[in-house]
C-alpha cells in the first residue's frame, strides 16, 4: 500500500474536481480555505481528507470573502494556498482577489463555472465568468486564468496555475466548468520527479535592506514571509517599494499600477499557451476553450472530411489573451467562429483583434455545450 503521504502516481479513472484537488497537492499546495458550493464542493471534500495527510490545512470558512482572505494570510505565512468555488462565491471573492493583486500574493482560485447570473443553474455548466476573471475586482490589474477542457487538464493546469501564481506573485485562476469538473475520465499522474514545480522567488539581500515591493528585472519582487525576521509591511493601499502607503502621490500610483499590469503583459509570451489543430492552411478558424473546445475539435475534423479547410485554436490561457496569434489568424482566414456557453464574452476579445475578418458567434446556454454538428453548421456557413 502506498504511504498516505504520496502522490497518486499512476493511471486513474477520476472526476475533474478530484483531479484538480490532486493537482493542487502535487503542486505543493498545503492550505485550502473554502465554502461549499456546487459544482466545486468535491474539491473541498477531497482536500479535507487529503490535506491533513500531507500535514496541510483544510478549513471551511464562514463565506467566500473569508476564504479568500484566509488564503492570502496563509500565502503570506509561507504556504501555497488555494480556494475553490463557483459563480456566486467567485463574486464574493473579488474583493480580496484585488487585495491579492495589490499585495502580490501568490494563490490559486478555482472557479467551476455554472449557469448564472446569481444562483442561476447550480448543476449545469457555463462559461459566463470569463470576463469576471479578468475584470471582476475594481481598479486596473492583469492576472492569469487557465481553462481546462479535460480531467487530465484539471490536474495539469491546477499545477500550472500554482507555478504561474508563484512566478508572478499573482492570484492565478483556473476556470473549469461543471462538465469537466464532474465527468470521469482517464487521468495519469506523473511521478513526483517528472513534475515541474515552481516556488516563489526569495529575498537575497540582508534583512535590513529588504524592500518587499522592489521588483527585479522581470518586474516581480522577491517575497519574504511572515516570521522570517524581515519586519515588512504590506497594504491594499497604493504603496511604495517599502510597502508604505502613498495615498496622495500620483507618481506612486502610476508606478505601482503600471508595474502590476506590466508584469503580466510583458511576460505574456512566457505565459500564454494555446493548442492548435489544422490551422496552417485554414480558411475558417474556430476559437474555443473549456468543454466547448472538444465539440469544436470534432466539428473541425468533420469539416475537413467535407473538404472545408477548418482549424481550431484552443485557448488554454484565457488571460492573458493570445491576441497576437488571433490577429495572425484573422489575416490568414476568411472567418473566425467562436462558440461559447455565454452570451458573448471571449468573442469580444477575438473581434478586437480580427479587424476586417468576420467573426461568427455561437451562443449556447443551459445543460449541454454546443454539439459538433451545430459548430460544423456555423463553419460551413462561413466557409
Amino acid at each position: 500500500m502506498p504511504s498516505k503521504r504520496s502522490l497518486l502516481t499512476g493511471a486513474h479513472f477520476m472526476n475533474g474536481d478530484v483531479a484538480c484537488a490532486e493537482g493542487a497537492i502535487a503542486a505543493g499546495c498545503r492550505f485550502f480555505a473554502g465554502y461549499p458550493i456546487t459544482p466545486a464542493t468535491e474539491i473541498a471534500e477531497h482536500l479535507s481528507q487529503r490535506m491533513p495527510e500531507f500535514g496541510g490545512i483544510y478549513i471551511q470558512m464562514e463565506d467566500e470573502i473569508a476564504s479568500m482572505a484566509a488564503v492570502l494570510g496563509a500565502s503570506y505565512a509561507g504556504l501555497k494556498a488555494m480556494t475553490a468555488t463557483s459563480g456566486p462565491g467567485f463574486s464574493l471573492m473579488q474583493e480580496n482577489i484585488g487585495l491579492a493583486v495589490m499585495t502580490e500574493t501568490p494563490c490559486v482560485i478555482v472557479d467551476i463555472m455554472r449557469g448564472g447570473p446569481s444562483t442561476g443553474q447550480p448543476t449545469l455548466p457555463g462559461q459566463q465568468d470569463v470576463m469576471q476573471a479578468r475584470w471582476g475586482s475594481h481598479g486596473d490589474y492583469a492576472t492569469v486564468a487557465l481553462a481546462p477542457s479535460s480531467v487530465q487538464e484539471m490536474f495539469d493546469l491546477t499545477l500550472e496555475a500554482f507555478n504561474l501564481a508563484e512566478t508572478y506573485r499573482v492570484p492565478a485562476m483556473l476556470l473549469g466548468d461543471e462538465i469537466v469538473a464532474h465527468m470521469y475520465e482517464k487521468l495519469v499522474i506523473p511521478p513526483p520527479d517528472k513534475l515541474r514545480i515552481v516556488n516563489r522567488k526569495r529575498p537575497n539581500v540582508p534583512r535590513e535592506e529588504y524592500m518587499p515591493f522592489k521588483p527585479d528585472e522581470d518586474l516581480v519582487p522577491p517575497m519574504a514571509c511572515f516570521g522570517e525576521g524581515y519586519h515588512f509591511h504590506a497594504t491594499g493601499l497604493t504603496h511604495d517599494e517599502r510597502g508604505y502607503p502613498q495615498t496622495s502621490s500620483s507618481e506612486a500610483q502610476q508606478k505601482l499600477v503600471t508595474r502590476l499590469c506590466n508584469k503580466i503583459r510583458k511576460n505574456e509570451d512566457k505565459i500564454i499557451r494555446v493548442e492548435e489543430t489544422m490551422l496552417d492552411d485554414a480558411d475558417v478558424a474556430v476559437v474555443a476553450y473549456g468543454i466547448v473546445a472538444r465539440s469544436a475539435l470534432s466539428a473541425v475534423r468533420k469539416a475537413r472530411e467535407k473538404g472545408i479547410k477548418a482549424g481550431l485554436l484552443r485557448l488554454i490561457t484565457l488571460w492573458p489573451f493570445p491576441e497576437k496569434r488571433v490577429a495572425q489568424l484573422a489575416e490568414q482566414t476568411k472567418a473566425i467562429v467562436v462558440p461559447e456557453m455565454n452570451c458573448g464574452q471571449m468573442v469580444l476579445e477575438v473581434e478586437r483583434k480580427a479587424k476586417e475578418t468576420p467573426v461568427a458567434f455561437l451562443s449556447k446556454l443551459g445543460e449541454e455545450p454546443h454539439t459538433p454538428l451545430e459548430i460544423l453548421e456555423e463553419i460551413r456557413r462561413n466557409s
Binding site: I65, A69, H233
Partner: protein
Amino acid sequence: MVEQVTHPLSKYLRADMMPHIWCPGCGNGIVLNCFVHALDELKTDLDKLVVVSGIGCIGRTAGYTNTDSFHTTHGRAIAFATGVKLASPELEVVIVSGDGDLFAIGGNHFIHAARRNIGVKVICANNFNYGMTGGQLGPTTPLESLTTTSPYGNIEHPFNLVHLAAAAGAIYVARWTTLHVRRLTQSMKKMMQKEGFCFIEVISPCPEIFGRYNKMRTGLEMMEWFKKASVVESFSDPAKAEITKEKIVVGEFVDTQKLSYEKLFHEKIAQINERSIQ
C-alpha cells in the same frame, strides 16, 4: 554636541512612517502605546509577531508597528489572520482594528473566529463611530447619539461587544477605556500569553468627530466622561456591562481555557500520520 538618544520603545515603531495620521486628542495613540508597552514587558520576539489591521483610523496601527504587518481590506483582518495562524501556529497574531471594521462589515468573521477558537488576539478601538470616513454611525454608536448619518439621533441599538465576544466563545474578554492605561497594558499582556481567541475592547475618544457632534469637543472632555462614568466590575455578567452617559462598565469578563482550533487541527494531523505509519 548634543547626544542622540532614542526612545527605549522606538524599536517597536516604524519611525520612518511618522508622522501618524491621527488627530490631536485621538485615543488611537494610547492604544498603540499600551500595546508596545505590553510587548516590551513581555519581551516579545518581534520576529514572531504579526500585526494585522483592517481599514479605519485605528487600522493604520499595523503599519506603525515594526513587525511583520498587514493592512487588509475593510473588515477582513480576522479572516486574513486566521489563515496566518493556521499556516504558522508558532506566530503570535494580533489584530488591531475598529468597531466598524470588526463588528459591522467584519462581524461575521469575528463571531466565527471566536466560535472556532482560533488563537488570534483582537484589540478593538471602539470610538462609537466611523472615524476614517468622517463620523458616520456604526454598530456601537449609543442610542440618540448624533453622527453625520444620524443627524436626528441614533435609533439603532448598539452591540455590547464584550457580551457578544463572550457569547461567541472567546476565552478571554476585557473592556477598558484609554484612561485605564495600566490595566489595559496588563490585560494585553495577559491576552498574549493565552492560547485561543481573545478580545479586548478599548473605549477610545474620537474628539475630532464623535466628540464634536456629541458635546465633547476635546480628548480631555471625552476622557473626563470615561473617568466619571467608568466602574470596574470584573467578572460581572458581560450581558449587563452597559455603556451609557452615566456608567461605563469595565474590567475582565471572561478568562478561561479550551483547546485552540490550530492545536486541535495539528493534533489531528499527527494522529492521521501516526496511523498511516503503523
